[in-house]
Amino acid sequence: MKLLDSAFAFSETALALRGQRMEVLSRNIANSDTPNFKAQDVDFKSVLNDAQGVTSMRATQGGHINRSQTASDANLVYTIPFNSSVDGNTVELSVEQAKYGRAAAQYQATLRFIEGDISGIRKALRGD
């Protein structure tokens, strides 16, 4: 099903990345009281570069192993807090909550795009 695979590939990768970012942010919220914990975030630009093969290796021959298209530890960056805290924790809870809410909305938006793709294909199949 090469056709269907390529129809959904873009949104599918995007959805996986959105989910991953939510995981990273939930990690920050979970550790909001942990001393010396450093808040992290996904660097969207570096993931995009990797996906486009700008900075990463590409599988061009049969024996090559394709690296996964979603974010790895290399795509995580440490966030710089607005205010430092005494215990070395760089999580700012309200900032993280805002980010988490935004990430949830972006996830939902990506879902809508996939739903649109599906209903488009279904319409084409039905022929009405």
């Binding site: 959805l15 991953q20 995981e23 990690r27 919220i29 979970a30 009281d33 809870l93 996939i114």
Partner: protein, 141 residues
């Protein structure tokens, strides 16, 4: 699947915050305990949080990677108040009894902070759950 890891992460955080609340409750309950010597007197318990990163990072199948755990229950080393009460059965030879070193105001504030953090993680779980349900309904489009 990274979305399902959120449940493990937030769950570990809720667990840690509950332990913190338990420690506060225990401290409050023992705030008026007295003992015959400073060594025996009740010391406030403080949980020490630690991120579940270093030891489990290699084992990525663990569902709560990046979560939080209680590294140890530390003791508050601030000095215990002593009280002159020669009639007390626990009093030492000088007639002194030693109170616990629990500060109720500190414990109340700590309990509020723990409750707030717990609620935050509940919200995280709720949002992730709703999004997963929506993802399941994608075929109905």
């Amino acid at each position: 699947m990274s979305m399902s890891n959120i449940f493990g992460i937030a769950g570990s955080a809720m667990n840690a915050q509950l332990t913190r609340m338990n420690a506060s409750a225990s401290n409050m309950a023992n705030s008026s305990t007295v003992a015959g010597s400073e060594a025996e007197a009740y010391k406030a318990k403080r949980p020490v949080f630690e991120a579940l990163l270093s030891e489990y990072q290699t084992n990525s199948k663990f569902p709560a990677v990046g979560g939080v755990k209680i590294a140890e229950m530390a003791q508050d080393d601030s000095p215990n108040n002593s009280l002159y009460d020669p009639g007390h059965p626990n009093a030492d030879e000088n007639g002194m009894v030693f109170m616990s070193n629990v500060n109720e105001v500190v414990e109340m504030v700590d309990m509020l902070a723990a409750a707030r953090s717990y609620q935050n993680n509940v919200e995280v779980v709720n949002t992730a759950k709703q999004l997963m349900m929506k993802t399941l309904e994608i075929t109905k489009a």
